[in-house]
């Protein structure tokens, strides 16, 4: 016959697929992170480059070695641990001692991801798990910032970067406060244009809101990011902090400041939207975003820390299964019995 005696394959429908694949989605997230990553290196020079490289390498190597140790094929080809590595590096102060960067990366991937069973099974965002451990273990190092665009940033390193493990890092005189800390501890506001463009001090990747938004919009346009989550976070932050600001503008920062400062933009766009840890239903995503926004504002306004995005997202990850259950849509026809008459 026409097919030359070849056997026909028998499979059940559907016989075509959309063409979306886990690795293509993850790779596109990596692409979307490249502009902000490049800006971080540009702003913080050698220190930024080393922080990001060590963060990425420690995460990817940890996943690779754990897979090998478990006798399974390495999963680094699905690009998800590359995202974790980049995001983790972008949340760190660029002057953080490199051994701490490496330790947090190993812990984040090992405890936050591999221990749960790898991609898809982790409850919490692994990048934030690594960062949270560092925040708890090294509170001073995690809140010591160098300003961006230093004159010798491409030729010299901050003293703290090469600190030996388990010794206290030393800091140059040039450490400076982040806009959130400035506001919290001295009620000093930063110009919105500086916040948006990234001419401020802060974590490696949280300084340029514009580039973060650009990456997010790219992913939303390709249907690789759930737009409802950042939309809900931004709307809730704006409304909640706006209401507070109206009550007392000297005590409560403006909503625009709240949106563009700290890790909110990076967190809302790239970490809260991590598919594994966020809800699947539309209503669940709105609630999840609102919860993250409220917790962030509460910590920033009344908490002891100047920034709260990380804890807000981790809390959001924790309640995600419940949000999915509470917001499960009514199945077609389930309510039809009464409506039928």
């Amino acid at each position: 016959m026409a097919n030359g005696g070849k056997t026909l394959e028998i499979r059940t429908s559907p016989h075509i697929l959309s063409g979306y694949s886990v690795d293509t989605i993850m790779f596109n997230v990596v692409l979307a992170l490249l502009p902000v990553t490049g800006f971080a290196v540009f702003a913080f020079g050698l220190a930024g480059l080393l922080t990001l490289s060590v963060a990425l390498a420690s995460c990817v190597l940890t996943e690779h070695l754990i897979c090998r140790a478990a006798g399974k094929p390495s999963t680094i080809g699905d690009w998800s641990v590359t995202i974790t590595g980049l995001l983790y590096g972008l949340t760190l102060p660029p002057s953080l001692p490199l051994w701490m960067v490496a330790a947090g990366g190993v812990i984040g991937v090992a405890l936050g991801k591999a221990l749960f069973g790898g991609l898809g099974y982790n409850t919490f965002n692994p990048a934030l798990v690594g960062r949270a451990v560092l925040q708890a273990a090294f509170p001073v190092a995690m809140t010591s910032w160098i300003p961006g665009f230093g004159a010798g940033r491409f030729s010299s390193l901050p003293l703290s970067t090469l600190t030996l493990p388990f010794t206290a890092p030393e800091y140059d005189a040039i450490t400076s406060a982040t806009p959130l800390a400035l506001w919290k501890f001295s009620r000093e506001a930063t110009a919105t244009s500086d916040l948006a463009m990234g001419f401020i001090s802060g974590s490696a990747g949280e300084t340029s809101s514009v580039l973060i938004l650009l990456g997010g919009v790219y992913l939303i346009a390709r249907n690789m990011m759930n737009w409802r989550i950042p939309a809900s976070i931004f709307a809730t932050v704006f409304v909640f902090s706006g209401a507070l600001h109206l009550v007392d503008p000297t005590r409560y920062a403006s909503p625009v400041f709240m949106l563009f400062s700290g890790g909110l933009m990076l967190g809302a766009m790239f970490m809260a939207t991590d598919m594994v840890g966020s809800p699947m239903t539309a209503r669940g995503c709105y609630l999840y975003g609102a919860l993250i926004a409220v917790v962030t504002i509460v910590i920033r306004t009344w908490g002891g820390l100047p920034e709260g995005v990380m804890y807000a997202i981790l809390l959001g990850n924790a309640v995600t299964p419940h949000l999915d259950r509470w917001t499960r849509p009514t199945v077609y026809g389930a309510k039809g019995k009464e409506a039928a008459t």
Binding site: M1, P14, G120, A282, Y332, G336
Partner: protein, 448 residues
Amino acid sequence: MRPMRLLGLKTFRHGVHPPESKDETSGLPIRQFPFAPLLIVPLVQHMGAPSIPVVEEGQEVQRGQRIARPDGFMSVSMHAPASGLVRRVALAPSISGRMVPAVYLEPFPGSTQEIEDGTPCPLEATPEEIIAAIQDAGVVGLGGAAFPTHVKLKIPEGKFVDTLIINGVECEPFLTTDHRVMLEESRDIFTGIRYLLKVTGAENVIIAVEANKADAAEHLRETFPSDLNGSVEVLQVKYPQGAEKMLFSALLGREVPSRGLPLDIHALCCNVATTAQVGQLLPRGRGIQERVITVTGPAVKRKGNYRIPIGTPLRFLLEHVGVADDVNRVFLGGPMMGAAAPSLEISITKGTSGVTAFTDTAAERTHSPVYPCIRCGYCVDACPIFLDPALLGKLAATEQFSTMTDEHHLMDCFECGSCSFVCPSHIPLVQRFRAAKAAVRKSKAGAA
């Protein structure tokens, strides 16, 4: 629930957008297919009891003559697709993989193949007479499900239908049969509608067409008889809009209750090609001997919309249109819900709306590696009946069937395959649900 509107066109909520792949055949007029040297007419072409053969081996039959009678109400008649000689009445392979009773018919080579007419059933007949005539004409749902049409049209005492929906959606990729039927057989469609309105007592008819068949919608609007109360509604292109449940949502904003019938919401849906058959057969007293089928797919050389005799063997059909050397999959229907042919010895039945053949290269995309579920939620956004396919998939993997049915509405799944289509982890979701549903039915049958 209110029907959704986007860009002014109605649709249902959720669903997917597979590539339409209709351009290669949508412009090709329907052409008559030749008779195969041996036609194998299965006596199970519909949902329900097999028909009972009324011919014997060695008997000569005329085209259109009845060769099998219905076995009860859930069954229909069968008619000879050609004038010829009954070679055998024996088992034959079927799409399900099971052997089914069939009539082997050898067409006379030199015959003019004129069709034998029976007793016409005029529009003036009573609803009961029309229902009997539809059963006798062997009409089943030509959209693919092959449910006996007369059973659907029998309105029980105390129920009523206000809206008749004629389904010309054809949301399945590649297929263009309904499209061509709407363009070429609109007179039969409107005659069929008159019969259906009479039987159901509906006051209003809506012909539903997706926006990618604007020419068909336009043609139907132009030829719409002025004395008929109804309209042609153009819907947004989306899969699986051709499923009647989705159509009721899109057009009427009504939901068929779970485990209920369309009658519960006073609506009835009939495929457009089925309607055309009713309009064509009843006034002449004929039965179905052939149907329009799109033969298409990357492996088919002479793609087209053909009027093919029922019982034409798949092997003859593919040899006639020509297939690529590297063909490796053939399915009856389209790629979203079509069933893979287990062999080329099966034949065309009334429920075959298309024959799609894929090559190795076209099949490659379904050979991708399976990843763990990353909870992307694509399947949740795709499922037209608002199930949680990701969760059901996990439950199915561990065979928690009772949780699936009792808490997560497994049995409401109508297996459209949208979840598997969108899954970036390539998890065989709908495939697992089919297996789970089969297991549940089996255990229920065992318990009863």
